[in-house]
């Protein structure tokens, strides 16, 4: 090793603390870059795996490909792997208890399809020949047909056809006369109605075959068996060598093909790339394009989620938001670490200028000196970068575990995949290296240019102009000569302190912004979940289950409940008396809308009586009449011309007004008359935050019975207020596991867990950024104090007491702590306001001044700066005045 390199290592060892701090800075920066990119890739990997598990391991599905054409697809070099399925057809399942699901739907899967298409085996094994089948568990749990593994099943499989002869598939729901009107529960409007008559479809061309059930699978995903599919999935084995007719081809593209997948897919189906792309991206096609599109050889389906995660199809806004966030975060890290690393190099070089001068005076060339600086950079990188990468990877691993624990309730058994992002690591390493080399280069240039005598006298750092140091008189008056000296020092070292100030500014402003982000996040969650007067809501639209709801309401531990029936009625829109605001919501003259629907609601006996009491009404008076809750929220244009969410009344009704309406069901119509007893904005249990523009019309159960409507409700809701929501939920499930139960407490808990994870990330991030900043500040301050130790000794020798001296240093820290805060705090508040604006869009909230974040950051800055100053003060105060003064006088 050359003597110069030896010198470098000796120097690094001598300045152990500074070397350590610099290396820590490099480690933190590298670790942070690795961790951020590692988390991003791990999440992506997890999402990809999740998409493969739930939706199947394919990118594109080509439907109904004739068997003789399959070989072209199989030999396509863009397709990495594939699997094949075939739709065999429907068979009637007579025993099915679900009137909307009267069929079995038989499919055949080849070997690979059975493993790759997200089919999950619960019991038994997968089929191994064409005489074996696996059946969906849904047949047993939903259809109540008691099949077992080992059963032999003889089925007649055929084509399902509508009355008009159109072939029907799984995405066509079962059509019979029981199809009811589909109601939009928000507005009560009728959105869709089917008028098919009973047994409008049939199964034709059946062939009979006997299969053995060898296994039971979970209900397949929604692309295989949609929610409204009429047939339960049954899967048999597909023998590729014995394939006839048409088959579905599921292709997994290779990575190259993925990047120009539109071209490749459009080629396969034989239409122009542009038309295909437009249709995939949801653009409206022109007539010509539609004609072109119709020429497509096969129907093709994208595996949307998998493609969006794997091909980074950023059209999904969530995904692009996450990636943008990562880019911003990495940007902040890089900027901060560049400052940090550059700064520590500049410091190290300044300190050694004298040494370089001496080396130069004994004949070291400028090249040798530069090399020496780079050698130092090399040593620091060799230690710092690998440790940083390891640390970052470890952090990702730990974070994923923590998330899994905290979010266990949200994740439904999803397991995070820890992926080592090799590319990200390479990028992180290169970025760190470039940063270090660039910083070193500048310092090396400075070191190389050194003139021996200048360096030895170390005049370099004292090139000051008196103008720059002008100090307002008030400083001296307020803080004495010590204050003046510290103020001037701040001005002298402007450049050196700039990095420190910037570090503090970045940390402080990000911290304030993040703390207010978390404030809003928790506040929003609180507004949403905290103000509900119930913690469990159970509903059913199955009239046979009403009794189950009644039973549930008697579970032990319930403080209060309201069992509500909701009945939709309609009337002629012109008969309704709207307020001015109401007319804007329901423009009568627009012509399209002729009917007006609204919902009547019963509350259950107890809640109804309590509610009447609250309104000051008696049961006898109210029981034959209706209470109208007229309290809507809508966008109203205010005087400034902005659209603002405002509370309005839709109607213009007084007590005593009567409304004629009718209730319609399949068989007949019933006319009813509603007499209003009270118009109010007070709401009963469960509806506290409901703002319905068509009003909530509350009647007694007695009234329903009188009008013969007690069984005509669309939906029954049970709102429960209890102490132990989880226990009640469990008991309710025991009564009937098919009830839809919304446990508000659990949802809120899950939501808070999610925010907790976000908080961990945000605060973790700001902590590490601050740590990088602190290494920076530590290096700047301690070195600066060391460089000035002679000056300090001098001041002491002419009679400055230790007390005065400490006071001077303290003032200095206060001066630039204040300076950083003066810049950082307003930026932080500005960012908070921006965040408030973003949140205010969705929730009604005032701007919360980020007081806590502000106080914490102000305190932290002063404690930190004072702490580091104190550290160097102790060192200086221990030094002997004379030795310090004479140290450098050669």
């Amino acid at each position: 090793m050359s003597i110069l390199n030896k010198l470098t290592i000796t120097n690094l060892k001598l300045n152990k603390k500074r070397t350590a701090v610099t290396i820590v800075g490099i480690i933190l920066a590298t670790a942070l870059i690795t961790a951020v990119s590692g988390l991003a890739t791990s999440f992506r990997r997890t999402m990809i795996e999740e998409a493969r598990q739930t939706d199947g391991n394919y990118h594109y599905e080509f439907q109904n490909v004739p068997v003789e054409e399959l070989k072209y697809l199989k030999n396509n070099r863009n397709i990495e792997s594939y699997y094949i399925t075939q739709n065999k057809g429907y068979s009637i399942l007579k025993e099915s208890q679900n009137e909307y699901k009267p069929y079995l739907y038989l499919m055949a899967y080849n070997e690979r399809a059975l493993t790759e298409s997200s089919i999950k085996l619960i019991e038994g094994r997968m089929p191994q020949n064409e005489n074996e089948i696996v059946i969906s568990e849904h047949i047993i749990s939903n259809g109540k047909v008691n099949y077992k593994v080992g059963d032999k099943l003889s089925i007649d499989v055929g084509k399902r056809e509508a009355k008009d002869g159109v072939e029907l598939y799984q995405n066509n729901p079962f059509q019979n006369d029981n199809s009811e009107e589909m109601l939009d529960y928000q507005t009560g409007a009728v959105v869709e109605s089917t008028t098919e008559t009973k047994n409008s479809e049939k199964i034709i061309n059946t062939t009979t075959k006997t299969y053995t059930i060898v296994g039971i699978i979970e209900r397949p995903n929604r692309t295989i068996e949609p929610y409204s599919a009429p047939g339960y999935s049954v899967i048999t084995y597909l023998d590729e060598s014995n394939l006839q007719g048409k088959a579905n081809f599921y292709a997994l593209y290779n990575s190259q093909a993925l990047s120009n997948r539109y071209q490749i897919t459009s080629n396969i189906i034989g239409i122009s790339e542009e038309v295909y792309k437009n249709s995939e991206q949801g653009k409206k096609l022109t007539t010509e394009e539609l004609q072109e599109f119709a020429k497509a050889r096969y129907v093709v389906n994208e595996n949307g989620y998998l493609l969006s995660y794997e091909a980074l199809n950023l059209s999904s806004s969530n995904l692009s938001m996450i990636y943008n966030l990562c880019i911003i975060v990495i940007g902040i890290i890089i900027v901060t670490s560049i400052f940090c690393i550059r700064n520590s190099f500049a410091i190290s070089i300044t300190e050694k200028m004298k040494q370089y001068g001496m080396l130069a005076s004994v004949g070291a060339t400028s090249k040798q000196i530069k090399k020496n600086v780079f050698y130092e950079a090399f040593i620091l990188s060799v230690i710092g970068i690998p440790l940083g990468v390891l640390g970052g990877m470890f952090a990702v691993f730990v974070l994923l575990k923590i998330i899994e624990i905290i979010l266990s309730e949200n994740l439904n058994g999803l397991h995070f995949i820890f992926e080592i992002p090799w590319l990200a690591i390479v990028v992180a390493v290169i970025l760190s290296l470039i940063t270090i080399l660039l910083s070193a280069r500048k310092s090396a240039k400075r070191a190389g240019k050194v003139s021996p005598i200048e360096a030895i006298r170390s005049n370099e750092d004292i090139k000051i102009k008196s103008k720059k140091l002008k100090t307002p008189k008030i400083v001296k008056k307020l803080f004495g000569i010590g204050g003046e000296i510290s103020y001037k020092n701040l001005k002298r070292n402007r450049k050196k302190y700039r990095t420190t100030v910037i570090s503090i500014v970045v940390s402080v402003s990000i911290f304030i912004a993040m703390s207010s982000f978390m404030n809003y996040a928790f506040k929003t969650a609180d507004v949403y979940y905290g103000q509900k007067d119930y913690n469990i809501m159970i509903y059913t639209d199955n009239k046979e289950k009403y009794g189950k709801l009644q039973e549930t309401s008697k579970i032990e531990g319930i403080n209060k409940f309201s069992l509500q029936k909701k009945i939709s009625v309609q009337t002629d829109i012109e008969k309704i008396k709207f307020s001015e605001d109401g007319k804007k919501i329901y423009p009568v003259n627009a012509g399209k809308r002729t009917s007006f629907s609204f919902q009547m609601l019963t509350l259950g006996k107890e809640e109804y009586e309590r509610y009447l009491k609250e309104l000051g009404l008696s049961y006898e008076k109210a029981k034959d009449k209706v209470i109208l809750i007229d309290d809507a929220i809508t966008y109203v244009t205010n005087q400034k011309g902005n659209s603002v969410l405002t509370k309005v009344q839709t109607f213009n009704y007084q007590p005593g007004d009567k409304i004629e309406a009718k209730h319609i069901n399949k068989k007949d119509e019933k006319n009813i008359t509603l007499e209003i007893i009270k118009v109010t904005d007070q709401k009963p249990m469960g509806l506290k935050q409901r703002y319905q523009s068509n009003g909530v019309w509350i009647v007694s159960e007695e009234w329903l019975e009188k009008n013969g409507l007690e069984n005509e409700y669309d939906i029954a809701n049970l709102y429960i207020d209890c102490n132990d929501a989880d226990q009640v939920e469990e008991n309710a499930k025991k009564i009937d596991k098919d009830l839809y139960i919304n446990n508000i407490e659990a949802t809120a808990r899950a939501n808070n867990a999610l925010w907790l994870v976000i908080a961990i990330f945000l605060y973790g991030f700001i902590t590490v950024i601050s740590l990088i900043g602190i290494t920076n500040i530590f290096n700047t301050i301690t070195t600066n104090m060391e460089l000035r130790s002679k000056e300090f000794a001098n001041l002491k020798s002419i009679g400055m007491t230790t007390k005065e001296f400490n006071r001077m240093i303290r003032l200095e820290s206060i001066f630039y702590g204040t300076k950083s805060l003066i810049i950082g705090v307003p930026i932080g508040i500005g960012l908070s306001y921006a965040i408030y604006k973003a949140f205010a869009e969705s929730e009604e909230m005032g701007f919360i001044f980020p007081t806590s974040g502000l106080v914490i950051s102000v305190l932290a800055v002063f404690v930190l700066v004072a702490g580091i100053m104190k550290y160097s003060l102790n060192k200086i105060n221990k030094q002997n005045i004379i030795e310090t003064i004479r140290k450098d006088n050669i």
Partner: protein, 221 residues
Amino acid sequence: MEILRVENLTKKYGKGENEVVAVNNVSFSVNKGEFIAIVGSSGSGKSTLLHLLGGVDRPTSGKVLIEGNNIYELNDDQLAIFRRRQVGLIYQFYNLIPILNVEENITLPCDLDGKKVNKQDLNDLLKTLGLENRVKHLPNELSGGQQQRVSIGRALMNHPAILLADEPTGNLDSKASDEIVELLKISNKKYHQTVIMITHNLEIAKQADRVIRIEDGKIIN
């Protein structure tokens, strides 16, 4: 009138085998208004002696009495205050505060003491030092001789009991050296200032009222 009295002053550095006796049982006294030169070879202990006189270092044993008070009975802060009121120090390398201008550097002991600067005094001093045109300059804008004059001004500002100069001409050319010595002599005459100066230069030493020679930490004449 005796202003300074040194009794059995000893300063040792290090311990055991490494022990060095820089000042070895030295006693002498100085009268007010005397101009004394301390000479001796390098490493003879003269600088240590000077620093002990100025209260910037503490002796191993012995006393330094200034105007009858033993300065090493004071605690560190009292000693610092003593230094700024009673001692003027001049170093070979001036040791000015780089961010303060000429005037500020000179008035620094006053400011530290919280005393109001006597403008007349200051102007008189600046004139004597030949710095009246350099008042707002920073140290790095001055020549070596000028910087040393500033440090003399700083030392004299508080009218200290003794002025201690540690090779004040050691870093200057002969012309500047002459000017500095002349200034010290003037202050000695004009302000009746007691001056103790370390020098290598025998020519300069000859101009003093008395020469104290030091060898191996002991006075030898």
